[in-house]
Symmetry: C2
Subunit: 236 residues, 2 copies
DNA sequence: TAAAAATGTGTATGTTTGACACATAAATAG
DNA sequence: CTATTTATGTGTCAAACATACACATTTTTA
């Protein structure tokens, strides 16, 4: 609601949780701060909302600054607004999370911002309430990836079924049965065979697939759900 | 992220989507504005964030102002931040949604604010981007009610199984099979029989149940999901 | 070249969902 | 007050799905 007598104006920040996948584990793009406040500590990438900028545009800008990427999956997560969350000044932070292909981003931009990809399992303590943000983002990723096939945003354009399985095992931190997983994925009709084989990766077997874009859109639009039984794994 | 050179401070509003259930249909508590701007039009209840106030506390305050209720289910939904969403001044709005027992609230507070319960199906056009907010809230309610038994927040303390079924039919806008629904609900072990029968409502039959608080907590904590097959209905 | 590991396809079993039958209790119409 | 209609409570069955596991083939490694 708006239009009431104005209360005080408040600083609006954005923070981005950036997920990647290296074939084995889920990774986060984190910053070792070479600026104040909290110099030397780890944090998420963030920035402030400009007065003439849409919220989503601001998130896109911040993501672009760090990765050089522009067309990634980017979704608003939640807004954190405890009074003392930032000890320096009262600031609320609108948090976004993004899924990127870890191989695509700009290494120079990473170096400039002193950023690196960290295994989720090795995550250092982050400043302020950033740990809570990451926790919430992981929960949201787990929920969303169960109903929509957004996991593909973390993979290269072409990938094998076992690669995809490893991704889902990393997201949900479970071991899955190869045969059942394959059958289920194939039933979605989301994959199109390329005829090629994977010659690049360490494991040089397995047929390469890519996404069927139309089917993919159908799933994103919610005409059917992706792996609904995974919602069970999304809880807690 | 915080601690960068400050950009401009921005007005932070909150808007509340308040859901109720009258035994037949899902309802929204809406305001016919008797103040500017947009005098005479319908909107959500809202207000501004104070500088010394946690975000969630502000939402609680706004909900209390309108309903006189304090311990309702209240969850943050999303933050709306398009530059021109409020034509008067740049304002971002953090949106919360709440589930209340429609019989519990303070009729005086409603009158004071010119608020009334409106059937979701009869919702008038709302100001600004409030229609989008309602749409997002309904989607979130549908998702959440599938995995967690939060629907009970909309019912009185004691209720019958058919009442509960009507609620879920209203939330998901579907017709459900009485026998299958009953079986499934009973399997959750969430209901405790009171031995009483419903003598108050129009329909004077059916055993009255109340929530098993411990089981309820287990479900809220995500140790198991509530009606997972409903996630299918949450999509789109 | 042989052994080990990863891959692709297939089958059987238990559980869950969704469609439907029947009996009983309560409300309504005459 | 009684008959009819409506709402409620419990049960059964078949189809769909999830899970567990077997086997043959290909690729990698020793």
């Amino acid at each position: 609601m708006t239009g009431y007598q104005h209360s005080s104006r408040i600083l609006v920040a954005l923070d981005c949780i950036i997920f990647g996948f290296d074939g084995e584990a889920l990774k986060l793009l984190l910053i070792k701060r070479n600026f104040d406040p909290e110099f030397g500590k780890w944090s998420l990438m963030g920035g402030f909302l400009n007065a003439d900028e849409d919220l989503h545009d601001a998130a896109t800008r911040i993501l672009f600054t760090l990765t050089g990427l522009q067309n990634n999956y980017l979704e608003q997560l939640q807004t954190f607004g405890a009074v003392k969350r930032d000890p320096v000044e009262r600031t609320i932070s609108v948090v976004y999370y993004s899924l990127v292909n870890i191989d695509d981003q700009d290494p120079l931009a990473l170096k400039t911002h002193n950023a690196s990809w960290i295994d989720l399992s090795n995550k250092p303590r982050l400043i302020f309430d950033h740990d809570q943000m990451v926790e919430a983002a992981l929960r949201q990723l787990r929920y969303k990836a169960a109903l929509y096939p957004i996991g593909f945003e973390l993979l290269p354009e072409k990938f094998t079924v076992p690669q995809l399985q490893k991704l889902y095992e990393a997201i949900y931190n479970v071991k899955l049965d190869r045969r059942n997983f394959s059958r289920k994925i194939m039933a979605t009709e989301l994959l199109m065979g390329t005829g090629e084989k994977d010659l690049t990766s360490v494991t040089k077997k397995g047929q390469l697939f890519k996404l069927n874009k139309e089917k993919y859109q159908d799933y994103l639009n919610g005409y059917q759900s992706f792996l609904p039984e995974f919602t069970e794994l999304s809880l807690s």
